[in-house]
């Protein structure tokens, strides 16, 4: 898929959604991934996030860059280790053809979506919303709102101590997001 090597994809957050989505996009041959996260890998992440025991304590951006280099060294990873906020988002994701919203916290999801839709109105953003728990997978979907906004997930479930985010449904939604990125880019001329 030589076509995909010409594009740059932004991934906001390298947790359950972001790490799995990034790995799928690297396997698919995306040219450049801009991955932003401020956190380090902790034991509690390993139930759903694409990290390894020997990466505990590393910044997630650094760990993911290392993992992707082992899978597909042709995908360039630009790692931004730090917090995203309204002021730095346009700069960090400048030049991206698509941006994946992959945060955990709902306030961050809203902040990112609002910022991109207002300050980068031509760039499609793919949100993950609703992936907690297990079962009921027919409710997971990717819905097009318009040409610049897509939502993947069931848009209903939220993570709670009784209904945690687990690998299967998180990975399904992360891969729905990755698949939507590919679909958008395959339809895009350079």
């Amino acid at each position: 898929m030589d076509h995909l090597s010409r594009f740059r994809v932004g991934i906001a957050g390298a947790g359950g959604l972001g790490s799995n989505c990034a790995v799928s996009l690297a396997r698919s041959g995306i040219g450049t991934l801009v991955i932003s996260d401020f956190d380090v890998v902790e034991p509690g992440n390993l139930n759903r996030q694409y990290f390894f025991i020997n990466q505990l304590g590393m910044f997630k951006t650094t760990a993911l860059k290392e993992t992707i280099a082992r899978i597909n060294p042709d995908t360039i990873v630009i790692a931004h280790t730090g917090k995203l906020h309204r002021a730095n988002i346009p700069e960090i994701f400048a030049g991206c053809d698509v941006i994946v919203e992959a945060f955990d916290a709902e306030e961050m999801k809203e902040m990112l979506a609002e910022t991109i839709q207002i300050k980068m109105p031509d760039i499609p953003v793919i949100i993950g919303s609703g992936l907690a728990g297990w079962g009921n997978n027919e409710s997971l979907r990717c819905r097009k709102i318009d040409d610049t906004l897509y939502v993947c997930g069931d848009e209903t479930t939220e993570t709670t101590p009784d209904n945690p985010a687990l690998a299967p449904r998180v990975s399904i939604v992360a891969n729905m997001q990755a698949d939507k990125v590919i679909e958008i880019l395959m339809n895009k001329e350079l």
Binding site: E110, L131, T157
Partner: protein
Amino acid sequence: MRIILNNRDDEFSRESLSVSQLLELRKLSFRMRIIKINGHLIPREKYDSTIINDGDKVQVIYLMSGG
């Protein structure tokens, strides 16, 4: 007035209403969301001052924690 709310026809007895009033009337109560009117995103601080008119296409997308 009639609007299209999340791809469905919806009818209100008044001529216009603010985004905040729509959220209250239709009990769209999840805390975090994205609202678009005719394709334009309405930021949270403009929910009171943005008016929805007859024929508008309104999208309300809920954002659930988890990732």
